[in-house]
Protein backbone atom coordinates (compact mmCIF):
# COMPACT_ATOMS: atom_id res chain seq x y z
CA UNK A 1 0.00 0.00 0.00
CA UNK A 2 1.27 3.43 -0.93
CA UNK A 3 1.96 5.90 1.87
CA UNK A 4 1.60 9.61 1.08
CA UNK A 5 3.84 11.95 3.01
CA UNK A 6 4.27 15.73 3.07
CA UNK A 7 7.68 17.18 3.82
CA UNK A 8 7.43 20.80 4.93
CA UNK A 9 10.75 22.57 4.46
CA UNK A 10 12.49 25.68 5.66
CA UNK A 11 15.14 26.79 3.16
CA UNK A 12 18.18 29.04 3.55
CA UNK A 13 17.79 32.43 1.83
CA UNK A 14 18.86 32.30 -1.83
CA UNK A 15 19.05 28.48 -1.96
CA UNK A 16 15.48 27.71 -3.12
CA UNK A 17 16.25 27.07 -6.82
CA UNK A 18 19.28 24.93 -5.93
CA UNK A 19 17.21 22.79 -3.53
CA UNK A 20 14.34 22.60 -6.05
CA UNK A 21 16.63 21.17 -8.73
CA UNK A 22 17.77 18.38 -6.36
CA UNK A 23 14.21 17.61 -5.22
CA UNK A 24 13.03 17.23 -8.83
CA UNK A 25 15.43 14.30 -9.17
CA UNK A 26 13.65 12.26 -6.47
CA UNK A 27 11.48 9.67 -8.26
CA UNK A 28 9.07 9.33 -5.30
CA UNK A 29 8.24 13.08 -5.36
CA UNK A 30 4.78 13.57 -6.87
CA UNK A 31 4.31 17.27 -6.15
CA UNK A 32 6.61 20.14 -5.22
CA UNK A 33 5.26 23.57 -4.27
CA UNK A 34 7.39 26.66 -3.63
CA UNK A 35 5.40 28.74 -1.14
CA UNK A 36 5.32 31.93 0.88
CA UNK A 37 4.65 31.72 4.63
CA UNK A 38 5.88 29.50 7.43
CA UNK A 39 7.44 26.99 5.02
CA UNK A 40 9.37 27.62 1.81
CA UNK A 41 8.90 24.32 -0.01
CA UNK A 42 6.27 21.63 0.43
CA UNK A 43 7.09 18.26 -1.07
CA UNK A 44 4.65 15.39 -1.52
CA UNK A 45 6.12 11.91 -1.59
CA UNK A 46 4.55 8.55 -2.34
CA UNK A 47 6.41 5.64 -0.81
CA UNK A 48 5.74 1.92 -0.37
CA UNK A 49 6.75 1.69 3.30
CA UNK A 50 8.28 3.61 6.20
CA UNK A 51 11.74 2.14 5.48
CA UNK A 52 11.66 3.76 2.06
CA UNK A 53 10.52 7.04 3.66
CA UNK A 54 13.46 6.85 6.09
CA UNK A 55 15.94 6.39 3.21
CA UNK A 56 14.46 9.27 1.19
CA UNK A 57 14.35 11.56 4.22
CA UNK A 58 18.05 10.91 4.83
CA UNK A 59 18.75 11.68 1.17
CA UNK A 60 16.77 14.95 1.41
CA UNK A 61 18.56 15.96 4.62
CA UNK A 62 21.87 15.76 2.76
CA UNK A 63 20.77 18.42 0.22
CA UNK A 64 22.65 21.65 0.98
CA UNK A 65 20.38 24.64 1.63
CA UNK A 66 17.63 22.87 3.63
CA UNK A 67 17.48 24.36 7.14
CA UNK A 68 14.73 22.27 8.67
CA UNK A 69 12.11 19.71 7.63
CA UNK A 70 8.83 18.58 9.20
CA UNK A 71 7.50 15.22 8.08
CA UNK A 72 3.73 14.72 8.02
CA UNK A 73 2.38 11.28 7.12
CA UNK A 74 -1.08 11.37 5.54
CA UNK A 75 -3.61 9.25 7.44
CA UNK A 76 -6.54 9.91 5.13
CA UNK A 77 -7.03 12.03 2.04
CA UNK A 78 -10.09 13.38 0.22
CA UNK A 79 -9.71 14.96 -3.22
CA UNK A 80 -11.89 16.14 -6.09
Amino acid sequence: MTITVYLLMDIEIGKTEQVLEKLQLIPEATKIAVTTGIYDIILRLEVDNLDELYTITLKIHSIPGIKETTTAVVEKMLYS
Partner: protein, 427 residues
Amino acid sequence: MSSRTERPVSKIAATTMFYVLALGAGVMRTLSVAADYVAIGIHETLYPGLGIDTFVFGFASQWISFATTFTAVAVLSIRRQHAGAKRPLGFSLDPDFGRLRILPRKPMMYIALSGFFAGISTSAYYYLIGSEGADTVLPFGQLVIIYLLIGDLMAEKDTPTIVEIQCIISILFGVLIVGVETEGPGFNLGTLAIVLIPMNLSSAMTTYYQKKVKKLEIEPGLAVDTLNLRLWSLLVLNTVFSITAIPMAAPSAWMTLADIANALWAPMVAGSLATMFSVVMYVRALARGSMAVVNSLSAISVVLGIPVAIISGLLFPPYLWVDWATLQWILKIFGVILVIVGIIALEASDVRTIMIIKVKPETGDLLPQLFAVKGVESVSALAGEHDYLLSVKSRSLAKTRKLIVRKLEEIQGVQTINTLVVLKEYR
Protein backbone atom coordinates in the same frame (compact mmCIF):
# COMPACT_ATOMS: atom_id res chain seq x y z
CA MET B 1 1.68 0.70 -16.48
CA SER B 2 3.41 3.30 -14.40
CA SER B 3 1.76 4.36 -11.20
CA ARG B 4 2.55 7.80 -9.85
CA THR B 5 5.18 6.37 -7.50
CA GLU B 6 7.19 5.18 -10.47
CA ARG B 7 7.32 8.58 -12.17
CA PRO B 8 9.48 11.51 -11.25
CA VAL B 9 7.85 14.88 -10.72
CA SER B 10 7.64 16.96 -13.90
CA LYS B 11 10.43 19.43 -14.70
CA ILE B 12 7.80 21.85 -16.02
CA ALA B 13 5.73 23.97 -13.60
CA ALA B 14 2.12 22.70 -13.27
CA THR B 15 0.53 25.92 -14.58
CA THR B 16 2.88 25.98 -17.58
CA MET B 17 2.03 22.34 -18.30
CA PHE B 18 -1.71 23.11 -18.15
CA TYR B 19 -1.37 25.95 -20.68
CA VAL B 20 0.94 23.89 -22.91
CA LEU B 21 -1.66 21.09 -23.00
CA ALA B 22 -4.74 23.28 -23.52
CA LEU B 23 -3.15 25.56 -26.14
CA GLY B 24 -1.35 22.56 -27.70
CA ALA B 25 -4.74 20.89 -28.19
CA GLY B 26 -5.80 23.98 -30.17
CA VAL B 27 -2.61 23.92 -32.27
CA MET B 28 -3.14 20.23 -33.08
CA ARG B 29 -6.80 20.89 -33.96
CA THR B 30 -5.59 23.58 -36.40
CA LEU B 31 -3.25 21.05 -38.06
CA SER B 32 -6.17 18.67 -38.39
CA VAL B 33 -8.23 21.44 -40.05
CA ALA B 34 -5.26 22.13 -42.34
CA ALA B 35 -5.30 18.44 -43.38
CA ASP B 36 -9.03 18.79 -44.16
CA TYR B 37 -8.31 21.83 -46.36
CA VAL B 38 -5.64 19.83 -48.21
CA ALA B 39 -8.09 16.91 -48.66
CA ILE B 40 -10.80 19.21 -50.08
CA GLY B 41 -8.20 20.97 -52.27
CA ILE B 42 -6.97 17.63 -53.69
CA HIS B 43 -10.55 16.49 -54.32
CA GLU B 44 -11.42 19.73 -56.13
CA THR B 45 -8.23 19.45 -58.22
CA LEU B 46 -8.95 15.81 -59.17
CA TYR B 47 -12.69 16.18 -59.71
CA PRO B 48 -13.32 19.87 -60.52
CA GLY B 49 -16.89 20.99 -59.93
CA LEU B 50 -18.06 17.48 -58.97
CA GLY B 51 -18.76 18.37 -55.35
CA ILE B 52 -18.52 15.98 -52.45
CA ASP B 53 -21.20 14.40 -50.26
CA THR B 54 -20.22 15.46 -46.76
CA PHE B 55 -21.59 12.29 -45.14
CA VAL B 56 -19.59 10.03 -47.48
CA PHE B 57 -16.51 12.20 -46.93
CA GLY B 58 -17.10 12.03 -43.16
CA PHE B 59 -17.61 8.26 -43.25
CA ALA B 60 -14.29 7.69 -45.06
CA SER B 61 -12.50 10.22 -42.86
CA GLN B 62 -13.85 8.82 -39.55
CA TRP B 63 -13.03 5.17 -40.30
CA ILE B 64 -9.57 6.02 -41.66
CA SER B 65 -9.14 7.96 -38.42
CA PHE B 66 -10.05 4.87 -36.38
CA ALA B 67 -7.62 2.64 -38.32
CA THR B 68 -4.86 5.26 -37.92
CA THR B 69 -5.51 5.71 -34.19
CA PHE B 70 -5.60 1.92 -33.63
CA THR B 71 -2.25 1.51 -35.42
CA ALA B 72 -0.71 4.49 -33.62
CA VAL B 73 -1.81 3.27 -30.17
CA ALA B 74 -0.49 -0.24 -30.99
CA VAL B 75 2.89 1.22 -32.02
CA LEU B 76 2.95 3.45 -28.92
CA SER B 77 2.49 0.29 -26.79
CA ILE B 78 5.99 -0.95 -27.75
CA ARG B 79 8.15 -0.88 -24.66
CA ARG B 80 11.69 0.42 -24.50
CA GLN B 81 14.27 1.06 -21.79
CA HIS B 82 14.06 4.64 -20.53
CA ALA B 83 15.79 6.11 -17.45
CA GLY B 84 16.27 2.66 -15.91
CA ALA B 85 12.68 1.48 -16.41
CA LYS B 86 10.87 -0.25 -19.29
CA ARG B 87 8.22 2.13 -20.55
CA PRO B 88 5.94 2.22 -23.60
CA LEU B 89 6.64 4.80 -26.31
CA GLY B 90 3.30 6.43 -25.43
CA PHE B 91 4.58 7.28 -21.91
CA SER B 92 5.84 10.67 -23.08
CA LEU B 93 2.40 11.49 -24.50
CA ASP B 94 0.56 10.38 -21.38
CA PRO B 95 2.35 8.99 -18.32
CA ASP B 96 -0.78 6.95 -17.47
CA PHE B 97 -0.49 4.96 -20.71
CA GLY B 98 0.56 1.31 -20.45
CA ARG B 99 -0.57 -0.40 -23.65
CA LEU B 100 -3.52 -0.78 -26.01
CA ARG B 101 -6.14 -2.45 -23.85
CA ILE B 102 -9.79 -2.78 -22.95
CA LEU B 103 -10.28 -0.68 -19.82
CA PRO B 104 -12.37 -1.71 -16.77
CA ARG B 105 -16.16 -1.46 -16.93
CA LYS B 106 -16.74 1.94 -15.29
CA PRO B 107 -14.26 3.95 -17.40
CA MET B 108 -15.47 2.06 -20.48
CA MET B 109 -19.04 3.15 -19.70
CA TYR B 110 -18.01 6.83 -19.49
CA ILE B 111 -15.90 6.46 -22.65
CA ALA B 112 -18.92 4.98 -24.46
CA LEU B 113 -21.06 7.93 -23.30
CA SER B 114 -18.46 10.46 -24.43
CA GLY B 115 -18.22 8.65 -27.80
CA PHE B 116 -22.01 8.55 -28.13
CA PHE B 117 -22.38 12.31 -27.62
CA ALA B 118 -19.37 12.98 -29.87
CA GLY B 119 -21.14 10.86 -32.52
CA ILE B 120 -24.27 13.04 -32.33
CA SER B 121 -22.19 16.22 -32.47
CA THR B 122 -20.16 14.89 -35.44
CA SER B 123 -23.34 13.91 -37.32
CA ALA B 124 -24.77 17.41 -36.74
CA TYR B 125 -21.48 18.92 -37.94
CA TYR B 126 -21.41 16.92 -41.20
CA TYR B 127 -25.10 17.69 -41.78
CA LEU B 128 -24.40 21.41 -41.37
CA ILE B 129 -21.33 21.62 -43.59
CA GLY B 130 -23.38 20.07 -46.38
CA SER B 131 -26.19 22.60 -45.92
CA GLU B 132 -26.59 26.17 -47.06
CA GLY B 133 -24.99 28.93 -44.98
CA ALA B 134 -22.88 26.63 -42.79
CA ASP B 135 -19.97 29.11 -42.76
CA THR B 136 -22.21 31.67 -41.08
CA VAL B 137 -23.59 29.32 -38.42
CA LEU B 138 -20.65 27.09 -37.52
CA PRO B 139 -18.76 29.79 -35.54
CA PHE B 140 -21.69 29.63 -33.08
CA GLY B 141 -20.40 26.17 -32.20
CA GLN B 142 -17.95 28.05 -29.96
CA LEU B 143 -20.89 28.92 -27.70
CA VAL B 144 -20.29 25.49 -26.20
CA ILE B 145 -17.96 27.40 -23.83
CA ILE B 146 -21.06 28.94 -22.20
CA TYR B 147 -22.60 25.47 -21.74
CA LEU B 148 -19.36 24.29 -20.15
CA LEU B 149 -19.21 27.35 -17.91
CA ILE B 150 -22.69 26.50 -16.62
CA GLY B 151 -21.55 22.87 -16.24
CA ASP B 152 -18.51 24.02 -14.24
CA LEU B 153 -20.75 26.15 -12.02
CA MET B 154 -22.88 23.11 -11.23
CA ALA B 155 -20.25 20.38 -11.07
CA GLU B 156 -17.03 21.97 -9.85
CA LYS B 157 -16.34 22.79 -6.26
CA ASP B 158 -14.79 26.11 -7.27
CA THR B 159 -17.17 28.82 -8.50
CA PRO B 160 -15.71 30.85 -11.39
CA THR B 161 -14.85 34.40 -10.40
CA ILE B 162 -15.66 37.61 -12.25
CA VAL B 163 -12.09 37.69 -13.63
CA GLU B 164 -12.44 34.15 -14.94
CA ILE B 165 -15.83 34.85 -16.51
CA GLN B 166 -14.47 38.08 -18.07
CA CYS B 167 -11.58 36.19 -19.64
CA ILE B 168 -13.85 33.40 -20.94
CA ILE B 169 -16.28 35.94 -22.42
CA SER B 170 -13.37 37.85 -24.00
CA ILE B 171 -12.08 34.64 -25.65
CA LEU B 172 -15.60 33.58 -26.64
CA PHE B 173 -16.45 36.88 -28.35
CA GLY B 174 -12.98 36.87 -29.92
CA VAL B 175 -13.52 33.47 -31.57
CA LEU B 176 -17.06 34.41 -32.62
CA ILE B 177 -15.77 37.59 -34.30
CA VAL B 178 -12.89 35.72 -35.95
CA GLY B 179 -15.32 33.19 -37.39
CA VAL B 180 -17.96 35.65 -38.54
CA GLU B 181 -18.68 35.94 -42.29
CA THR B 182 -19.73 39.38 -43.55
CA GLU B 183 -20.88 38.01 -46.89
CA GLY B 184 -22.78 34.87 -47.75
CA PRO B 185 -26.19 33.40 -48.19
CA GLY B 186 -27.21 34.02 -44.58
CA PHE B 187 -28.78 31.35 -42.45
CA ASN B 188 -32.12 30.30 -41.09
CA LEU B 189 -33.02 29.80 -37.47
CA GLY B 190 -33.45 26.05 -37.98
CA THR B 191 -29.78 25.67 -38.93
CA LEU B 192 -28.72 27.82 -35.99
CA ALA B 193 -30.89 25.68 -33.68
CA ILE B 194 -29.00 22.54 -34.80
CA VAL B 195 -25.72 24.23 -33.81
CA LEU B 196 -27.02 25.49 -30.49
CA ILE B 197 -28.89 22.39 -29.37
CA PRO B 198 -27.76 18.96 -30.66
CA MET B 199 -24.25 20.00 -31.72
CA ASN B 200 -23.22 22.17 -28.77
CA LEU B 201 -25.07 20.20 -26.12
CA SER B 202 -23.47 16.96 -27.31
CA SER B 203 -20.03 18.60 -27.42
CA ALA B 204 -20.50 19.79 -23.83
CA MET B 205 -21.59 16.29 -22.75
CA THR B 206 -18.56 14.77 -24.54
CA THR B 207 -16.24 17.11 -22.63
CA TYR B 208 -18.06 16.36 -19.36
CA TYR B 209 -17.61 12.58 -19.75
CA GLN B 210 -14.02 12.96 -20.96
CA LYS B 211 -13.21 14.89 -17.80
CA LYS B 212 -15.08 12.39 -15.66
CA VAL B 213 -13.21 9.42 -17.14
CA LYS B 214 -9.79 11.11 -16.81
CA LYS B 215 -10.47 11.72 -13.12
CA LEU B 216 -11.10 7.99 -12.53
CA GLU B 217 -8.35 5.86 -11.08
CA ILE B 218 -8.20 2.30 -12.40
CA GLU B 219 -5.78 1.42 -9.62
CA PRO B 220 -4.25 3.54 -6.84
CA GLY B 221 -2.15 6.27 -8.41
CA LEU B 222 -3.03 5.29 -11.99
CA ALA B 223 -5.60 7.31 -13.95
CA VAL B 224 -7.26 6.28 -17.22
CA ASP B 225 -4.92 7.06 -20.13
CA THR B 226 -5.98 9.39 -22.92
CA LEU B 227 -4.76 7.17 -25.78
CA ASN B 228 -7.09 4.26 -24.98
CA LEU B 229 -9.79 6.82 -24.18
CA ARG B 230 -9.45 8.34 -27.66
CA LEU B 231 -9.38 4.96 -29.40
CA TRP B 232 -12.49 3.44 -27.77
CA SER B 233 -14.53 6.64 -27.77
CA LEU B 234 -13.72 7.00 -31.49
CA LEU B 235 -15.10 3.50 -32.12
CA VAL B 236 -18.41 4.45 -30.46
CA LEU B 237 -18.41 7.85 -32.21
CA ASN B 238 -17.93 6.18 -35.61
CA THR B 239 -20.69 3.65 -34.94
CA VAL B 240 -23.18 6.40 -34.00
CA PHE B 241 -22.08 8.56 -36.93
CA SER B 242 -22.31 5.64 -39.41
CA ILE B 243 -25.87 4.81 -38.28
CA THR B 244 -26.80 8.44 -39.02
CA ALA B 245 -24.74 8.81 -42.21
CA ILE B 246 -25.91 5.70 -44.07
CA PRO B 247 -29.55 6.85 -44.54
CA MET B 248 -28.59 10.54 -44.90
CA ALA B 249 -26.40 10.25 -48.03
CA ALA B 250 -27.90 9.39 -51.41
CA PRO B 251 -27.23 5.76 -52.50
CA SER B 252 -25.39 7.02 -55.61
CA ALA B 253 -23.07 9.10 -53.41
CA TRP B 254 -21.81 5.91 -51.68
CA MET B 255 -20.41 4.82 -55.07
CA THR B 256 -17.76 7.55 -54.65
CA LEU B 257 -16.59 6.22 -51.26
CA ALA B 258 -13.73 4.12 -52.67
CA ASP B 259 -12.55 7.01 -54.88
CA ILE B 260 -12.58 9.43 -51.94
CA ALA B 261 -10.69 7.00 -49.68
CA ASN B 262 -8.12 6.24 -52.41
CA ALA B 263 -7.49 9.85 -53.33
CA LEU B 264 -7.55 11.40 -49.89
CA TRP B 265 -6.18 8.78 -47.49
CA ALA B 266 -2.85 10.61 -46.96
CA PRO B 267 -4.29 13.94 -45.70
CA MET B 268 -6.94 11.98 -43.78
CA VAL B 269 -4.26 9.94 -41.96
CA ALA B 270 -2.31 13.14 -41.19
CA GLY B 271 -5.49 14.80 -39.94
CA SER B 272 -6.33 11.75 -37.80
CA LEU B 273 -2.93 11.82 -36.09
CA ALA B 274 -3.27 15.56 -35.42
CA THR B 275 -6.76 14.98 -33.96
CA MET B 276 -5.46 12.12 -31.80
CA PHE B 277 -2.71 14.37 -30.34
CA SER B 278 -5.28 17.15 -29.93
CA VAL B 279 -7.67 14.91 -27.95
CA VAL B 280 -4.81 13.53 -25.81
CA MET B 281 -3.67 17.06 -24.88
CA TYR B 282 -7.24 18.33 -24.42
CA VAL B 283 -8.27 15.54 -22.05
CA ARG B 284 -5.00 15.78 -20.09
CA ALA B 285 -5.68 19.51 -19.70
CA LEU B 286 -9.25 18.71 -18.56
CA ALA B 287 -7.80 16.67 -15.70
CA ARG B 288 -5.93 19.78 -14.53
CA GLY B 289 -8.42 22.61 -15.04
CA SER B 290 -12.06 23.53 -15.49
CA MET B 291 -13.93 22.60 -18.68
CA ALA B 292 -14.73 26.16 -19.77
CA VAL B 293 -11.12 27.34 -19.33
CA VAL B 294 -9.67 24.38 -21.27
CA ASN B 295 -12.18 24.89 -24.09
CA SER B 296 -11.49 28.64 -24.18
CA LEU B 297 -7.74 28.05 -24.45
CA SER B 298 -8.05 25.37 -27.12
CA ALA B 299 -10.28 27.76 -29.10
CA ILE B 300 -6.97 29.34 -30.16
CA SER B 301 -7.42 26.99 -33.14
CA VAL B 302 -9.97 29.47 -34.54
CA VAL B 303 -7.32 32.21 -34.53
CA LEU B 304 -4.65 29.91 -35.97
CA GLY B 305 -7.18 28.93 -38.64
CA ILE B 306 -6.68 32.34 -40.31
CA PRO B 307 -3.13 31.67 -41.62
CA VAL B 308 -4.15 28.07 -42.41
CA ALA B 309 -7.04 29.32 -44.59
CA ILE B 310 -4.73 31.81 -46.34
CA ILE B 311 -2.00 29.20 -47.02
CA SER B 312 -4.61 26.68 -48.29
CA GLY B 313 -5.99 29.38 -50.59
CA LEU B 314 -2.50 29.91 -52.02
CA LEU B 315 -1.96 26.16 -52.47
CA PHE B 316 -5.29 25.43 -54.12
CA PRO B 317 -6.47 28.51 -56.03
CA PRO B 318 -9.23 29.17 -56.97
CA TYR B 319 -11.15 26.57 -54.86
CA LEU B 320 -9.99 27.71 -51.43
CA TRP B 321 -8.98 31.27 -52.29
CA VAL B 322 -9.50 33.71 -49.39
CA ASP B 323 -11.00 36.99 -50.53
CA TRP B 324 -11.98 38.82 -47.38
CA ALA B 325 -13.20 42.41 -47.46
CA THR B 326 -11.55 45.12 -45.33
CA LEU B 327 -14.37 44.98 -42.77
CA GLN B 328 -13.86 41.26 -42.30
CA TRP B 329 -10.10 41.74 -41.81
CA ILE B 330 -10.75 44.43 -39.17
CA LEU B 331 -13.21 42.11 -37.38
CA LYS B 332 -10.73 39.24 -37.46
CA ILE B 333 -7.95 41.41 -36.00
CA PHE B 334 -10.28 42.56 -33.19
CA GLY B 335 -11.23 38.95 -32.56
CA VAL B 336 -7.60 37.83 -32.35
CA ILE B 337 -6.82 40.66 -29.88
CA LEU B 338 -9.78 39.67 -27.66
CA VAL B 339 -8.67 36.00 -27.64
CA ILE B 340 -5.06 36.83 -26.77
CA VAL B 341 -6.02 39.34 -24.05
CA GLY B 342 -8.40 36.75 -22.54
CA ILE B 343 -5.76 34.01 -22.50
CA ILE B 344 -3.05 36.21 -20.96
CA ALA B 345 -5.41 37.60 -18.30
CA LEU B 346 -6.59 34.09 -17.42
CA GLU B 347 -3.05 32.84 -17.07
CA ALA B 348 -2.15 35.74 -14.77
CA SER B 349 -5.08 35.20 -12.41
CA ASP B 350 -4.54 31.66 -11.13
CA VAL B 351 -3.94 31.51 -7.35
CA ARG B 352 -3.15 28.33 -5.47
CA THR B 353 -2.70 28.11 -1.75
CA ILE B 354 -1.82 25.44 0.77
CA MET B 355 -3.43 25.76 4.18
CA ILE B 356 -2.08 24.05 7.26
CA ILE B 357 -4.61 23.64 10.04
CA LYS B 358 -4.26 22.82 13.72
CA VAL B 359 -7.32 21.81 15.71
CA LYS B 360 -8.24 22.17 19.38
CA PRO B 361 -7.81 19.13 21.65
CA GLU B 362 -10.69 16.63 21.69
CA THR B 363 -11.96 17.72 18.25
CA GLY B 364 -13.46 14.96 16.15
CA ASP B 365 -12.88 14.22 12.46
CA LEU B 366 -13.08 17.48 10.45
CA LEU B 367 -12.09 15.94 7.13
CA PRO B 368 -15.59 15.97 5.50
CA GLN B 369 -16.37 19.52 6.72
CA LEU B 370 -13.07 20.89 5.44
CA PHE B 371 -13.50 19.14 2.09
CA ALA B 372 -17.02 20.55 1.71
CA VAL B 373 -15.70 24.14 1.52
CA LYS B 374 -15.80 25.43 -2.09
CA GLY B 375 -12.36 25.83 -3.62
CA VAL B 376 -10.78 23.06 -1.51
CA GLU B 377 -9.33 20.57 -3.99
CA SER B 378 -7.89 18.10 -1.49
CA VAL B 379 -7.65 17.62 2.26
CA SER B 380 -5.14 15.37 4.01
CA ALA B 381 -5.42 14.36 7.65
CA LEU B 382 -1.86 14.35 9.01
CA ALA B 383 0.01 12.53 11.75
CA GLY B 384 2.42 14.78 13.67
CA GLU B 385 2.72 18.46 14.50
CA HIS B 386 -0.03 19.63 12.09
CA ASP B 387 -3.54 18.15 11.78
CA TYR B 388 -4.73 18.91 8.22
CA LEU B 389 -3.20 20.09 4.97
CA LEU B 390 -5.51 21.62 2.37
CA SER B 391 -4.81 22.31 -1.28
CA VAL B 392 -6.92 25.27 -2.40
CA LYS B 393 -7.53 26.79 -5.82
CA SER B 394 -9.06 30.19 -6.46
CA ARG B 395 -8.81 33.06 -8.91
CA SER B 396 -7.72 35.77 -6.46
CA LEU B 397 -6.22 36.14 -3.01
CA ALA B 398 -9.22 38.25 -2.01
CA LYS B 399 -11.48 35.33 -2.88
CA THR B 400 -9.26 32.95 -0.91
CA ARG B 401 -9.56 35.22 2.11
CA LYS B 402 -13.25 36.11 1.77
CA LEU B 403 -14.76 32.82 0.67
CA ILE B 404 -12.41 30.11 1.83
CA VAL B 405 -10.47 31.16 4.94
CA ARG B 406 -13.61 32.64 6.55
CA LYS B 407 -15.54 29.43 5.92
CA LEU B 408 -12.73 27.38 7.44
CA GLU B 409 -12.55 29.66 10.49
CA GLU B 410 -16.25 29.07 11.12
CA ILE B 411 -15.72 25.30 11.48
CA GLN B 412 -15.95 24.31 15.14
CA GLY B 413 -12.62 23.00 16.47
CA VAL B 414 -10.25 24.81 14.10
CA GLN B 415 -7.55 26.47 16.20
CA THR B 416 -5.07 27.96 13.70
CA ILE B 417 -4.84 28.29 9.92
CA ASN B 418 -1.56 28.98 8.18
CA THR B 419 -2.00 30.14 4.60
CA LEU B 420 0.91 29.48 2.23
CA VAL B 421 0.58 30.99 -1.24
CA VAL B 422 2.05 28.71 -3.92
CA LEU B 423 4.54 30.62 -6.06
CA LYS B 424 5.47 27.70 -8.31
CA GLU B 425 4.25 24.14 -8.45
CA TYR B 426 5.57 20.97 -10.08
CA ARG B 427 3.43 17.85 -10.49
